[in-house]
Symmetry: C2
Subunit: 397 residues, 2 copies
């Protein structure tokens, strides 16, 4: 789909502007999601002990049925900024509320960027009325909003789904950002998902938590959990759902969340491969995810994929230190569909052909059977390249 | 100390030879530690669920008071090799035992190198008598033995300590290897520590476990726990220890283990910095280590050090996802002695001067106070560089 033509659910308007947090004058750095009336909002947040000021603000508000706007800045995380950080977040909410005729507690705030610096509040104060004006205009600006939340992302991340309810169509539209400092014990980086379905705050929270478990909690880039990770679900309530439609909504929300989440490691800093890790035969989903995450976060596994090297011992040994007890002689491992290890012994395979298939495609698939139960997990990560080192060691803060 | 002149404890001989596991004809690949009489042996092994055949063999034997030799090959880990791997390990022990007039159960086996390939047993069978002959010669060969266990190591790792007991001197001499696949939930890569002190098997095991906790369990390179990690302590029993001398022995053993362990991240694949992470004010040592390890294994922290970038938000946020509950407003962080963050807010500092101090020296010191208790941990890791990527993505198996 042409991302510029992605439809917004009824009841929402969006904008993305440059206010001056980022230095380049063409760099968008302030996004606004505006609800025409009060909407339901649910949130899932980072599990880091050190949380940014906006996360603390939003956690106090959600779930809610009175939210009017989400203001998002990039270029500065407003994390590790103490009392002044909290005051700045409250001021962002108050200014936005004043511009749209709401109260501060109806405005959610998201920030992403450098940790440990104070926000340039003058720039943000100037940007808020610009964003409100743009949201009121008739220009389609979803892609602008998605761009204005980017940091080291190379591409904006937008996803859309819809399904019929009676003679109407429920829309789900989401935007996300994230490329580095992506670790899995958390919600995600930033994502905002809008829908015109009618949900209670409790139902919205429940659907969101469930969708996040199998999407944003199943991705990593380098495994470093951020202080600012947030996923929001906003529901404008235009279309009532019966229980069948609610179940369909939950499925569609999970699909949309997975689609958005996968785009983060696919755009991982320096990534040359998107690695899909499917762990099966686990005693429970948590164990499956723990094994998948440990494989995903091993720099030795990542660099083997980078180099197109079918060095499967790195994968098996990573599974072995995941903290999940399993009988090693029941493991079965394949990469890109080629069986490499089973029943405790190496299998014969065409290493040159497998290496070529790993090098040729952006997608690499690792499948590991634990031989213990019925639970499974699909996890997505990026490989580790020279470009990752360049981005994180050579570009200075 | 001239490593070639490092003394061996009484009762031990060592050798390092080339038998042909590694292809280059000058690459040493087989080490032998020979005890002149039966000695006490204790071992600490990897916690990986997938363990190599030699680890399974040694675990069955130690602690023991009847060990006669340790045979170590590099270039092949003999891991994920099933029944045939176990048979090969038993054959290595039997051949060595035959050459020295002992039984197979008196020979410990260590292997390190590629996972998932069968050992070239013909080469090893030819190498064993060569190693036995060299150990019997009068040439000092500790450095040869340390070289013959190297894989991607750039330097051999030898450490020695001694202390007086009456009019005699207790010697402790250790060798170690390791540069990659170094993760902290384990014993280490390979290390063998010899002493001429008299210890029971139980005391040797207790002293070794305790020393490993603060040395080999406090290092990482990329956090990937190997299938083969092993630390052995061999005691030839020449010098009896009273309880005061036993306490001194435990201290000296810990110091020696720390010295050997630090050499592993200092020689970490591609490392340009040795990073020492001191976590203080923790409720217990385990929590302190968990925070230190999480900081150590963050690719974002590592690359910041690589680039000489005092981007302290990466350190604080890594502490935050370590899984240890702490009050963020009591954190105090310094790097190379410069205070950066305290009481929840950023401190003013001279970023250019700190960056220069980080770039200039091989050693970088991170100190983090948690403000909760009295426990602490010192942890050592390497930085993450282009050279690490080159070693692990571009050199193929």
């Amino acid at each position: 789909m042409d991302q510029n033509a992605t439809p917004l659910p009824r009841g929402f308007r969006v904008a993305g502007v440059h206010c001056g947090i980022k230095q380049r004058s063409d760099a968008l750095d302030l996004s606004l999601v505006l609800a025409e009336r009060e909407v339901v909002a649910a949130g899932v947040y980072t599990q880091n002990r050190v949380v940014a000021a906006p996360v603390a603000w939003d956690r106090d508000i959600t779930p809610s049925d009175r939210v009017r706007a989400v203001l998002i800045n990039s270029g500065n995380a407003n994390a590790c900024t103490g009392e002044r950080g909290a005051t700045d977040t409250a001021a962002m909410a108050a200014e936005t509320a004043r511009a749209i005729g709401a109260s501060a507690e109806q405005v959610l705030i998201l920030s992403t960027g450098i940790i440990g610096e104070y926000l340039p509040m003058e720039a943000i104060r100037a940007g808020i009325p610009m964003a409100v004006a743009e949201a009121a205009s008739d220009e389609p600006s979803l892609l602008q909003a998605a761009r204005a939340i980017m940091t080291t992302d190379r591409v904006p991340k937008v996803s859309h789904r819809s399904f019929p309810v009676g003679d109407r169509s429920v829309q789900l539209t989401g935007i996300a950002k994230g490329a580095g400092m992506i670790g899995p014990r958390m919600a995600t980086m930033l994502a905002v998902i809008m829908t015109d379905a009618a949900l209670t705050p409790q139902a919205a929270q429940r659907f969101l938590c469930s969708a996040v478990e199998r999407s944003f909690n199943c991705i990593s880039v380098e495994g470093h959990t951020s202080t600012n990770d947030t996923v929001l679900l906003l529901a404008s309530g235009e279309i009532p759902l019966d229980s069948g439609a609610q179940a369909r909504f939950a499925d569609e929300l999970e699909e949309l969340a997975i689609d958005l989440a996968k785009r983060i490691p696919a755009d991982g800093e320096g990534a040359t491969h998107l690695i899909t890790i499917q762990v099966q035969g686990a005693p429970d989903e948590r164990a499956a995810r723990q094994v998948a995450r440990t494989i995903a976060d091993s720099p030795l596994v990542k660099t083997a994929i980078t180099g197109g090297d079918p060095n499967w011992g790195r994968i098996v040994s990573a599974a072995g230190y995941a903290g999940v007890p399993f009988p090693p002689d029941r493991l079965r491992l394949s990469v890109n569909g080629v069986a490499l290890f089973a029943k405790g012994v190496p299998l014969e395979f065409d290493a040159a052909a497998l290496s070529q298939s790993m090098r040729r495609a952006f997608d690499v698939r690792i499948e590991l059977e634990l031989g213990m139960g019925e639970a499974s997990c699909t996890f997505w990560t990026s490989d580790l390249t020279h470009e990752y080192i360049t981005i994180n060691a050579e570009y200075h803060t």
